[in-house]
Amino acid sequence: MIETIASSLLTVLSIEHIAYLAGGVFLGLMIGIFPGLGGIAGLSLLLPFLYGMEPISALAMLIGLVAVIPTSDTFTSVLMGIPGSSASQATVLDGFPMAKQGHAARALGAAFSASLLGGLLGALLLTAFVLIARPLILAFGSAELFMLTLLGLSMVGVLAGNSLVKGISACGIGVLLGSLGAAPATGEYRMSFDNIYLMDGIPLVVVGLGIFAIPEIIDLLRQNRAINEASELGSGWFDGLRDVIRNKWLAIRCAVIGTLVGALPGLGGSVVDWIAYGHAVQTTKDKPDFGNGDVRGVIAPESANNAKEGGGLVPTLLFGIPGSGSMAVFLGGMVLIGLEPGPAMVGAELGTTYTIVWSLALANVIGAGSCLFLSKWVSRLTLIPYALMAPFMLMVICFAAFQATRSLGDLVALLAIGVLGVLMKRFDWPRPAFLIGFVLAGGMETYLYQAIQFDGWSFLTKPGVMIIAFITVLSVYFAVRAKRNSGDDSTEAPAAAEPPRRRARNLKPQVIFAAAVVAFFGFALYDAFQHSFLGGVFTAGISGLMLILSLTVLVKLLRGQVDDPVNFDNEVEAGYDSDSTVARLPHYLYWLTALILGCYLFGYLIAIGLFFVVFLMTKARTSLLRTLSLTGAALGFLITLAHLMVLDLPRGLLQDLVQMPWPLS
């Protein structure tokens, strides 16, 4: 045992190993900074070279890449409100408001120090955990996994915002959108209108980008300012480091959560950041300000998502079951190198396992360290006027969305979810609740169905199920308590400090949106009855319940209950309606629609080029020369990336009708 540990440690610390590891890390950082690409693109770039390489060196490069995925995607989450991957969606909630307040460097500092801590702790924990992981994973059957999705769902209570009915309804929209496509029990296609794209369900990346990034971009464009409201950076990355030290126990708890949840196959890493975020909200007693730039809302998910990568190694190495897309590629790489996962990884191959685990920790140090170092400069991006940034943002977002399934449908879905996101933001239907519902929908239905098939309803009496049920009840209790605390705060706060809240008097826009939500649930219910019992029972149950909840919202609004918490219209509350410098809400949605329509007609490359030129000339009012050089740089970058990644950019009708020379085809 001691010998194995010592020899693995020697391997990890050898100069050659570190060099390859660092190579992987830097490749990962360069690519991973683009949202949506994450490490999967980097890994597929690397895979062709793996074959024929020295196994240990190849492994080092692979690990270097995997380790920095949840690190480098933090840049766009914090600075631009674009969730780089599903692992950093929760980071956006508080990271981006911090950037807007001029604390971008501090937020990044906190995020990367938390990542560093989470990654290291995760590896430490894993060293012992990997030995007992096998029985533990085997103890988590479908029943226990179903209960875990319920635990995740209980976080909705924390993230619901002002009105609980709206929060739960938003979550319901997410659940139903998440169960679009093939039913797990029968394979019947639900709510998909015979459309091949919808049959697969909407990809999480597209939903994350649409629901968070698009509304923020549009909001910033309407106000026509830089991301940073203050004209200079208010604090440095060192403050962020101090924040992590101050909240070290939170970071440690979240690292443990990340490792354990990440190690459970099937649930996937995509809920880890939400569970950690919810945990932070529930346990913070000291002046919580979550959602408006509370640094603890950055520390918790970042610590957890780096620890999660380590946890994700467990099912990958022990059972050959990858928990995430990046782990799937890692697994493919392992097979190409000639390493086969299985029980031997904690037996005869334990040394290799330890080498992998500690390499991951080391890669974290290198990755997070260099990000920390960079954050001072990168955070200056928030000072650039947004009209100049926006075309680049939209280009990157469309490119990222397109990575999901590489079809034009990704872009259309992005637009549709984007519109939904804009409206949810305006009427304060909590978007995090929506996303949690979306993320958990598939697992919830599948595991519930499987648990009943395996054990009947008696699955509820399994000890593991009861323990998780108990934790869920605790979580709800803490959520209620946290809510009451924050409620106390607002009553205690002197009213003079805050201007009186402006409330919407004209409820018509809200009524229309709420009616659309009700109609959606109604349609989902109708659709559920078109299928066999097993194919429709889950969506029928959810949509039936949601129909009632959303109807209460609608009725309240129709009755004109202005003072009820369901009434919220950001156009009024933020004063946009009376401010003539703010563009109208649909204005930039039209721009976005035009871009997507252009992609449909002329293909992505031509459309984005035209969009750049027109947008920069009319909105950013740059000179012709500058416009052309910016456009050229952007397109050149796109073409290079597409070529290296062996990617066809979306084609339009034009390309279908006429043979175009590369790269226009």
């Binding site: 062709p48 059957g141 091949i196 049959m199 050959g320 990858p322 897309g325 098939q453």
Partner: protein, 372 residues
């Protein structure tokens, strides 16, 4: 209705494309005919369309073969893998059918998940295997095994399983598990399928957890991950699916010489060789799912000499000394079928007669609400 409309548009687009292509071809006829004399890919980048996500079994298979085949092709071009996932691999194959150019610079990696919906007449399929030329087929095998708790030692005791509560964790009735589900049905075993697994790995996990008591794994997964359970006495292998001989008959799997194959198991249970619509359907899906699970295809209209060049390149890869040991982790211990052998295997899988096809579609619909 929607379908016919899309097909119509696709047809118009295709015919427009063909006429445009004809014009371009006319202009390029000179270069083309000279190229036909000697196939040369010097300096080219060949794209292998991979209708799956990065990282899975098929992707790994393709990435294993790509550099090896490229190296042996005339001119030693670069071969890159282009992942186009979606629609259970029908999206990538559809794109290949629609867009691939017949010049040897576009190849398709196909797998069981691409072939099954084609045989079943899935509405998403817009491609036709009969248009393509196969240059390589990679077989795998599979083993069905049960939990030792059921109290049997081998397939000979299969009658003892009658009346026992048997469950199988499956990815879906129209997935590769169709072969297993149908085999168990043919053996008159009453097994309840629980769907929604993401991959066979999860099915094996459910077996290890004791949630199900019967499972099937492909050869490499069985050897690495189930054999230890067999050695511990927790799992009992029942039968393998066997391999397809050159005479079209099913033979014992060389990896499991002591294990009866499915046809033998059938004879043990029923006392006679199988010959029914159900069995003919099973054989088709067995070939598409196991005996010729993965294949490399060239698009419609690829000139004979290009197909020839590919077949020779693949043959050279396989003949190279040391290939077998190198390939064992990815391919398992199975003979790779090249050129006309590969074409023969795929033809055998597609040979399913109308009666057998009607039978299987009805079986899937009535038993599993497959909606075909």
């Amino acid at each position: 209705m929607n379908n016919s409309k899309t097909t119509f548009i696709a047809n118009v687009t295709r015919s427009l494309r063909t006429s445009i292509a004809a014009v371009t071809l006319g202009a390029g006829a000179l270069t083309l005919s000279s190229a036909a004399l000697a196939v040369d890919f010097d300096g080219d980048r060949i794209e292998m369309v991979m209708p799956f996500k990065e990282g899975g079994g098929s992707d790994t298979w393709g990435r294993f073969y790509a550099p090896l085949v490229a190296e042996q092709l005339p001119g030693s071009p670069v071969m890159v893998v282009k992942n186009i996932p979606g629609g259970g691999s029908t999206s990538g194959a559809n794109q290949f059918q629609l867009r691939a150019k017949p010049d040897g610079r576009d190849v398709l990696a196909s797998s069981a998940s691409t072939m099954f919906p084609y045989i079943l007449g899935d509405s998403r399929v817009r491609y036709d295997y009969k248009d393509w030329a196969a240059v390589l087929a990679s077989p795998t095998g599979g083993v069905v095994y049960v939990s030792a708790d059921l109290g049997i030692d081998s397939v000979a005791d299969i009658a003892k399983l009658k009346g026992q509560d048997m469950k199988f964790a499956s990815q879906g009735a129209t997935s590769m598990d169709l072969v297993t589900l149908l085999a168990l049905d043919l053996l008159d075993m009453d097994v309840k399928a629980v769907f929604g697994m993401k991959g066979r790995g999860e099915g094996r996990l459910a077996f290890e957890r004791g949630e199900v008591n019967i499972d099937a794994q492909t050869t490499s997964a069985f050897i690495k991950k189930v054999q230890p359970l067999v050695d511990e006495g927790k799992a009992i292998p029942l039968f393998s699916y066997g391999v397809l001989g050159k005479d079209g008959k099913i033979k014992r799997d060389p990896n499991f010489p002591d294990l009866p194959h499915f046809v033998e198991a059938y004879e043990m249970v029923h006392g006679q060789a199988p010959d029914s619509e159900a069995f003919r359907a099973w054989k088709s899906f067995f070939i598409a799912g196991y005996a010729a699970q993965k294949g490399l295809f060239l698009p419609k209209g690829t000139p004979e000499d290009v197909v020839q060049a590919y077949s020779e390149a693949v043959a050279k890869v396989i003949a190279k000394p040391g290939f077998e040991t190198e390939a064992e982790d990815v391919l398992g211990n199975y003979e790779q079928a090249v050129g006309s052998d590969a074409q023969m295997m795929f033809a055998e899988a597609l040979k399913i007669d109308d009666a057998a096809k009607a039978w299987i579609i009805d079986w899937l619909n009535s038993r599993y609400s497959a909606g075909l």
